[in-house]
């Protein structure tokens, strides 16, 4: 088992022990469930880890402590809430602490960890036909997110607040690099940290409340890469102009630092009982610098230079400035107890100015006739930029309490202006990379709901119409229809049905984009006795898209089509008959269309309470994944677990 997971599970369990003295307090509740699980996988273990990633080992299924002391005048906190789950054999783990004391202070701390693994056999894998798997882009990284916030005198007229957030991703991956007319696998070790500290006030009067916060966000990222062992031959085993292209050595180091001051202001309040205002303003000014150095040697070809070369010494320094702001205001009018009108306006502006200086020294170059040996120095200075402005004006009318009916109407105008500067270094074939683009979208929507007895039925329709597109998959016309039935027939039957249809199209000459999605779901729950629940569910997801594309090798026109037809069947059974409880689940998701596969999941859990406070549970989970075409992606996995639970 992965040691990082073991250590975190140990930390979580240690926390559980440390806080157990709180159990002595009169109003303290504790739930704890922890145990051990065994995982066995047959077939493609990489695909299992990519999708599920449970491991053999200790697992903290859940720990919750709730301490409430409404009368204490001396303790440091009169409410403490701790929740922890995951870690160990589970790929994710989380820990959350909330504590406070009346209206004196409030403190929140949370930590989450995610194991991020991906090793797909077919994705980004040019050597799949030769039986080489997984693909050349694999990673096994950890993400850690820590957040803390402290409020002094919460819910007072003025509440000072300070907070901190840390987000780290680190770990190895394998990637590729295109150089000298071939692609080579590289090993990368990444460590990126984003931190933000912020402070300010919350304020609240009888009519107005809001926030004024100033944050400072920093980013520090380092990525060190080198050629993967045995990868010097590259993906292209053919010669280029009669020369074997190969790479003997490569090292690259990239370091990025950035700072972003972030200002956030919000205000909420009411001019009168019938008129309310919500407004916010955010400004973030990003300023970042990147430095990179790269050294490589081998036998390589450059068509840009028209030469063979045996080494490259490259350094890159770049700088990015990106100021952005976003403002929003919304007025709500209670025209009567049943009628409400909301008017909103939002504006957003984002700019980018980027510069890069790329200095390259090509070593030992020869022209294609094998003559004129020399080193060639090349300096590329590139400037890139854009400005995007978005505006949204919206109105919504809501009629509520008219008998069992609810109605709403809405309209909005969205406007986007985009101005991209020409990036000379990027252009290979002119056009499609710069210019001014304007797009206006008109939105109209209506909906209704009716509540009769135990049934709630609702329908809504949204229609969007655009005057232009920016990219070819933007819609010109889009409609979305949704319907919902939620019917609770006495306490023993509940039927839930939802349906959605989204149609997007652009019939313009040269675009011809068409996309339709239908999604229906039914869920039936039977509760013949209070302690027993039976559930069956069916879900059908259909999507079809088509758009003409220009095939690069001969510039001919073809149609890109994608189809999905996913059908999900689920059934579940829960029964509590003291001191036992049973939980059974079955689900099968089959997708046909462009990428066919089947995923079956079975789950069984049998629990027993030895006493009111102590119990145990046995678990079994089964996952079977099969692809229609690529059999080597398939896996079957079983997970068995034994868990002990304690409650007081």
């Amino acid at each position: 088992m992965n040691t990082r997971r073991v250590s975190l599970a140990a930390v979580a369990l240690a926390l559980a022990v440390l806080v157990s003295p709180f159990a002595e307090a009169q109003s303290t509740s504790i739930d704890l469930e922890a145990g051990y699980q065994w995982v066995s996988v047959t077939g493609n273990e990489d695909m299992y880890r990519t999708q599920i990633d449970q491991e053999t080992g200790l697992v903290l299924r859940g720990f919750s402590l709730n301490f409430v002391d409404p009368t204490s005048g001396t303790s440091i906190a009169d409410n403490i809430r701790i929740d922890a789950a995951g870690f160990g054999g589970n790929p994710d783990g989380s820990f959350r602490l909330f504590m406070g004391r009346g209206r004196e202070y409030r403190f929140r701390l949370s930590y989450s960890q995610y194991v991020n693994f991906s090793a797909l056999p077919a994705f980004a894998n040019p050597l799949l036909d030769e039986g080489v798997t997984p693909g050349q882009h694999v990673w096994d990284r950890d993400r850690h997110v820590l957040e803390a916030e402290f409020q002094l005198y919460p819910d007072s007229v003025v509440t000072p607040v300070v907070g901190y957030r840390w987000n780290q991703i680190k770990g190895p991956r394998q990637t590729t690099y295109f150089v000298g007319q071939d692609e080579f696998r590289l090993d990368s070790e990444l460590r990126e940290n984003e931190q933000e500290i912020y402070g300010g006030i919350f304020f609240a009067t009888s009519r107005w409340s809001g926030t004024l916060l100033q944050g400072w966000r920093t980013f520090d990222g380092r990525d060190d890469l080198e050629i993967a062992p045995g990868a010097g031959a590259g993906n292209n085993l053919e010669t280029v102009l009669g020369t074997d292209v190969s790479l003997d050595d490569l090292t690259r180091s990239v370091h990025t630092e950035a700072e972003t001051p972030v200002t956030t202001a919000t205000v909420r309040g009411r001019f009168s009982e019938a008129i309310r205002l919500t407004a916010s303003y955010v400004r973030a000014d990003y300023d970042g610098e990147t430095g990179a150095s790269e050294l490589l040697s081998g036998s390589l070809v450059s068509f840009r230079l028209g030469r063979f070369f045996s080494g490259l010494d490259q350094s890159i320094s770049s700088r990015t400035e990106s100021p952005s702001w976003r403002g929003e205001a919304r007025l709500e009018f209670d025209l009567s107890p049943e009628v409400r009108l909301d008017l909103g306006y939002e504006a957003r502006d984002r700019e980018l100015e980027g510069w890069a200086l790329i200095s390259s020294l090509y070593l030992d170059t020869l022209n294609f006739s094998g003559a004129d040996p020399q080193d060639i120095s090349q300096l590329v200075e590139t400037h890139n930029g854009y400005e995007r402005e978005d505006e949204v004006a919206s109105a919504r009318l809501n009629l509520r309490g008219i008998g069992p009916f609810i109605f709403w109407l809405e309209g909005a105008m969205r406007s986007s202006d985009l101005d991209l500067s020409e990036d000379v270094a990027e252009i290979v074939i002119p056009s499609g990379q710069q210019g001014e683009f304007n797009r206006d979208v008109d939105v109209y929507g209506a909906g209704a709901a009716i509540l009769i007895g135990g049934a709630r039925v609702s329908v809504d329709l949204v229609s969007e119409s655009a005057d232009d597109i920016v990219v070819r998959t933007d819609f010109e016309e889009r409609t979305r229809m949704r319907g919902r039935l939620d019917w609770a027939f006495t306490k023993w039957l509940r039927l839930l049905a939802t349906g959605e249809r989204i149609s997007s199209s652009n019939g313009d000459l040269g675009v011809g984009y068409d996309a339709d999605t239908d999604h229906v779901a039914f869920d039936l729950e039977l509760t013949p006795v209070e302690t027993m629940t039976l559930r069956v569910a069916y879900d059908d997801y259909d999507t079809d898209t088509s758009v003409p594309i220009r095939v690069p090798q001969d510039f001919s026109i073809a149609t890109s089509e994608h189809h999905e037809n996913g059908q999900l069947m689920e059934a579940g059974f829960r029964w509590q008959f003291e001191p036992f409880d049973i939980d059974l689940g079955y689900s099968d998701f089959e997708n046909t269309g462009s990428f066919g596969f089947d995923l079956t999941r079975n789950f069984a859990r049998f629990g027993i309470d030895f006493t009111k406070a102590v119990g145990a549970a046995l678990e079994w989970e089964y996952n079977k994944y099969t692809e229609d075409v690529l059999q080597l992606a398939n896996f079957t996995a079983n997970r068995f677990g034994v868990f002990l639970r304690w409650h007081r």
Binding site: N66, V68, D69, P70, A85, G86, D92, S94, G100, R103, E104, Y105, Y114, F123, P126, V145, P160, I169, T176, F178, E194, I197, G199, G215, F219, T260, V262, R276, T278, V282, Y286, T290, A292, T320, R326, R330, D342, R348, G354, W355, Y386, L418, E426, I427, I429, R456, V470, R472, V511, H519, Y541, I549, R550, V551, P552, Q553, D554, E564, S594, F595
Partner: protein, 289 residues
């Protein structure tokens, strides 16, 4: 840097203020004791909730159920005690939870369709063990009771996991409604929820690609769950790329790949094999590193 030091100093000094403000705390009589004579379990559960702390000057049983003495005198006649439901319950909660009010009352489909606070929150404490934020069930399970299609999309093999200790619906969505489309959360810098975790994709980059320029993460990804690897909206990478990078009639953004990108070769059907920095790069205009 000066701002940073000043802020850190404030953080360090704040705990010193605690003893001084401790005297401000005032205990008040708990009006729940009379109710406990009959509703012992309910009152006991209520005392485990944050409301019990707020009871020192805040709500107790009578705050929501009104004066229950006639109810007691008449031997527990349920018609003589208020049991707020639906819109009435919502209005009652919002009397204190003012910050929620302005969010919940606008753009919230939950509010529009008369889903009220008590549909999700168990005010007396959860019957299913300890739940955060007084929720009636764990978040993902709770949302699934009304949003089966969204919940089912997590059954697809590629995408975010909603298993134990992972994400839940409220990680990205604000059930009380917020400024973003589909009630998506917006962080302090006005950006969507994806980059709150995937900070390395935030950029901005010297050479950006889609995000912030012509769309957001959902232009290429299905965040709930996808039938396609890497939670993409297409199973083949070249399709995803060429659908924009085919300026057939011109006038659209998206450059034409040069002709050596021969789709008969698997090297070129997998665009990201070479264009590895597909979310943006500070080093390569062609997103090659």
């Amino acid at each position: 840097m000066r701002h940073l030091i000043r802020t850190l100093a404030i953080v360090a000094l704040l705990p010193l203020c605690l003893p001084a403000v401790a005297a401000i705390a005032q205990d008040s009589a708990d009006a729940s004791e009379d109710c406990a004579a009959c509703h012992e379990e309910v009152v006991a559960a209520f005392k485990t909730t944050i409301h019990a702390v707020a009871a020192r000057g805040g709500p107790s049983c009578v705050t929501c159920h009104t004066d229950g003495y006639r109810h007691m005198e008449e031997g527990g006649d349920v018609s003589l005690i208020a049991v707020p439901k639906g819109v009435d319950a919502e209005q009652l909660c919002l009397q204190c939870h003012k910050a929620i009010r302005t969010m919940f009352s606008v753009r919230s489909v939950h509010s529009d369709t008369a889903v009220s606070c008590v549909d999700c929150h168990s005010i007396h404490g959860s019957t299913l063990g300890l739940q955060e934020k007084m929720l009636a069930k764990p978040t993902a399970e709770l949302c699934a009771t009304c949003h089966p299609a969204a919940a089912n999309s997590f059954r697809r093999p590629f995408g975010h996991e909603m298993e134990i200790a992972g994400l839940d619906c409220a990680s990205c969505h604000n059930p009380h409604a917020g400024a973003g489309i589909d009630s998506l959360k917006v962080d302090r810098s006005g950006e969507g929820p994806c980059v709150s975790c995937h900070a390395e994709k935030r950029g901005p980059f010297v050479f950006p690609h889609v995000s912030n320029v012509v769309g957001d993460c959902m232009k290429c990804h299905q965040p709930h769950g996808s039938s396609n690897p890497n939670a993409l909206i297409r199973s083949q990478v070249y399709q995803l790329c060429l659908e924009c990078h085919s300026p057939i009639e011109g006038g659209t953004l998206g450059s034409q790949p040069p002709s050596f990108h021969d789709l008969y070769s698997p090297r070129y059907r997998n665009c990201t094999t070479c264009h590895v920095a597909i979310h943006g790069s500070n080093l390569s205009p062609q997103l090659l590193k």
